[in-house]
Amino acid sequence: MTDEDLIAKYKLELTSEAELARGDLDEIEDHLRVLARELRDRGMPRVEAVAEACRRLGDPRAVAREHARVRSPFGARLAKLRAYSAVALWVPLLISGAVTQLRWSGLVSLFGLQLVFGALLALALGFRLSWARPIVLGAVACLIARFAILSAIVVHPPVMWCAAYVGIFAFVMPWRRGELSTSGLALALQVWAVGSAAFALEFQITSADGSHVMAMGALIAFFAAAAATIGGILRARWGAIASLVAAPTLALAMAEVLPLRFRFPFALATQLEMTGLLVSGALAATVAAILSWRAARSTLGTLQSVLH
């Protein structure tokens, strides 16, 4: 085996354990070459010098794992088994959603957009992009909370749906401490705020008595929280500011929708659900604003972590 073969082998072992960015791989190779040359200058034969340099750099698998851990800014990358299991539970939900909703409302509608967004998110989760995990966590947690409130008091949502959502939640949940970084936690909370604003928006589009309610608070809160989520992925300081806008506007949304009087029998339950979701959404946006401000990389953010 020549010295070049040894270098190629070390690089292969690194990249087969975890994906390394081009620059990171070059950096390690440069180190390997400089160290080997130094050893050769001290009289070591060519091949032995490279072998010794590889040994001093350390176990390539451990080095690659450490790189992967540090380089994914939203927390540990989801293991393949967990990610694919979550996607496997997700896909039937998407298909059943498409079958039941698209016939009524078409792709360019609230439900259609939800499906497109859901499909993109499932794809991101399948590719194990590091931001997908906290986003799915926040979104599914919000859905489960809504299901739980609904089924505890009035309607019984289909059991299979609930089971699938709980399953997805279990797969993406950071069960071990430190699995989610500060940025990751902020992202999950921002998505929770998006969920609660979307909930308030539903009342704007179809209020109980059939009239349209223009709830400005909910509208602003929704876009602010959605912007905050994008800012969170970019790890930008403006994301924290958007989150800070979402918090009081969610409280405003609550003031707007709470006086609504419903004619259907479970009005109290709906109002409880509304209060619970909007108050928690405002709190989540506040905490997310603090966390994402502290974890922000720069004012405008960076595209570095988008495809990571």
Partner: protein
Amino acid sequence: MPRAVRHAKERIAKDLIAASATPLLLAILQKGPSYGYAIIQAVRDLSGGELEWSEGMLYPVLHRLEDQGLIEAYDQVGETGRKRRYYRLRPDGRRALSEERRQWDLVTAVLAKAIKPA
């Protein structure tokens, strides 16, 4: 002699190496920009060979410091003619270093007092 003690005499414990990595790297970069291999050399020279790092693990630590905004990386063509990634200290890193220094001084002072025979 128990095995653990013998081991401790040979090398500085792993935990201690990990804990001292951040202040050590920041202190080295305070003297001027540098790159991975040169940083490892500096650590070896400063410790007289007592501090042995697993060299490949240096880079994840540097990237973490970069992610925290304490240092920044930039590419420069080195003496070999190849492009090489250099690191330099940022103002936040300077502040972090003085805070680290305060904490380490405190720990060594307490240790010295505790160990000193009464």
